[in-house]
Symmetry: C2
Subunit: 357 residues, 2 copies
């Protein structure tokens, strides 16, 4: 390695070094086959094993109950927006949504192409700096759709509302970061490129008996029952991204699973938010109770310090904490593979800035 980088990229994001190492080895030769994984048939027993292991690890790590299926598909959450509505919104039905920012708005936009959408609540009035609460979930909607973590704004649902209708969640940026009760959801989907693996695959966790009720003629690639019947291989899957996701889930299992990583994620968040709250030069930008453990956002109180601050963290080897253009300031994405040490380096920079201010 050229230098030590503290990788705070919002996604694709940091993955464990041992995962990269094994990924590199598979590019040269996979499991003594004489072939690179990049040139092997997806129907080979070697890759079918990878796919089955990846699906099984998702089930094991998230304690997915019986009656649910796990799929590795393509298209990211952006295709998931449409796919989820297509598989759950009845032909003359409607979907209910909570608008917590860019990605929730994207889901709403795609669902409107299929039918009626009811936005139950929105935090747009305060630039999505909080999670709306206290809304009524209509019993006549086909489902409620939530975006559990809002990567851009740095908010996160810490309580999932109890829901009398099917519940769908885009968990792209917090799946595998903390324990969840899968039985509360009828569909969970997530782009892999945060806590699950590199870009290029998308996981779906779906309650089988919730499917097949829309009366729609669904395109094959978006048809969850069809994908289930083909064991997640209706067509050629993204072989390498799924393999690296499998390696990453193995790493998570070896780490102690989701409860162990949650503990570390909580320690990382406590360390950073603690400093944001203590240090008079910084402040957080979202409601304290809705802060994301994955994507803390904060700003400098005095913008005149920007140049000095930016120079300081860059020199410390920190990468990727510039905030999204729609929020400004800073966003320190702290996904599973980011070590506590990297957060300490960032906090030390903040303290240094204070000393010199």
């Amino acid at each position: 390695m050229t230098k030590k980088v503290h990788n705070y990229s919002a996604g694709p994001c940091i993955l464990p070094a041992e995962v990269m190492q094994k990924a590199a080895e598979a590019c040269i030769e996979f499991n003594g086959s004489g072939l690179s994984l990049l040139e092997m048939s997806h129907r080979s027993s070697a890759f079918v094993d990878v796919m089955e292991k990846a699906r099984a690890l998702v089930k094991e790590l998230l304690h997915v109950p019986a009656g649910y299926q796990v799929l590795f598909l393509q298209g990211g959450a952006s295709l998931g927006f449409y796919l989820s509505a297509m598989n759950f919104m009845k032909k003359d039905g409607k979907g209910a949504y909570v608008n917590t920012g860019t990605w929730a708005a994207g889901a709403i936009k795609e669902a409107k192409k299929l039918g009626k959408v009811e936005v139950l609540a929105s935090s747009e009035d305060k630039n999505f700096s909080y999670i709306p609460k206290g809304y009524t979930i209509p019993s006549d909607a086909d489902y409620l759709h939530l975006t559990t973590n809002n990567t851009i704004f740095g908010t996160q649902f810490h309580d999932i509302p109890s829901c009398p209708i099917p519940l769908i969640s885009d968990m792209s940026s917090d799946i595998f970061s903390k324990t969840i009760d899968v039985s509360k959801f009828d569909l969970i989907y997530a782009g892999a490129q945060k806590n699950m693996g590199p870009a290029g695959s998308t996981v779906y966790i779906v309650k089988e008996d919730a499917l097949g009720k829309t009366g729609r003629d669904i395109p094959s690639m978006l048809d969850l029952p069809l994908q289930i019947s083909k064991d997640s291989m209706y067509n050629t899957p993204p072989v390498f991204p799924i393999y690296v996701a499998m390696l990453n889930l193995e790493w998570l299992k070896d780490f102690g699973g989701v409860p162990a990583i949650q503990k570390r994620n909580e320690a990382k968040a406590a360390l950073l938010y603690g400093e944001v709250d203590r240090n008079p030069l910084f402040k957080g930008v979202v409601a304290t109770e809705d802060r994301s453990l994955m994507n803390p956002t904060f700003v400098l109180n005095d913008e005149a310090l920007t140049a000095r601050w930016d120079k300081m963290w860059k020199e410390a080897g920190i990468s990727g904490i510039a905030g999204h253009r729609s929020v400004g300031g800073y966003r320190a994405s702290m996904y599973n593979a980011l070590p506590l040490e990297s957060v300490q380096v960032l906090v030390n920079c903040m303290k240094e800035l204070e000393k010199g201010a």
Copy 2:
């Protein structure tokens, strides 16, 4: 490497060894950045450069004319079946198709979900062993869709019919194998995992002014004008598969481009088909004039030789020539990266079998 494998996999398929090597290096560290390509933002200038280079190489290698755009999307040809119809079939219009086998039938199936389909010709009467000719293309259809190479059956269009309406082609298994006149087509799409790269990305080459005429409300991820406006990055693209495709296209350029690889592909096909025709133990299964240069299919005349023949080629290090279950016999997929030497090894086995028979 454990042993030398002659990789005849029908796809994902053989890629050049130097491509695997560079892919492996990028998993560890990309271009001196201190980061693996697997953990880098797709918005980083390093990856934006990769995407732009990949798109430019497609344009250069295929002499894509002005007015066309190149995109790297997801979902494989199977999503392309639906996507192509969605972007070209008017709301009350119809699509025209030629049914040359499994993948063409898949395209027909998806298009029927959107509207009317006219199947102009089919070779189903002879298990798709030839390319239909002499049909009339209806001037009132919104487009004609062809599958230029039929991976499973081993047939290939050697002449593209002149077409008075927009022409769409699924070129998944022969793109970059021979020179084509892109200006004949309004849309070309192809899953990457044959001659372009590993599984996980799909290339679209589209005539811009053919788009936006259907009156449909297209899902964002399937909306070609939207994808064009976002430079092929509406959402997180499959970073690593696109990088490896870029490496592979660089390799093709260094090889001498498409004309040079076409010459080698023709030599490989001449060598194998020559032996199939000469050797009394074998015969081809498709019409001679429609034989695929990518996926030659053949059978043993005497099935009693099967066990001996299968043992022989396996011992020679040949992998992946068992025929698809819907055709039986053998299929020797000879994609760009397969060296002539591997074909010679197969031909030598066929000669050996004849000697011992």
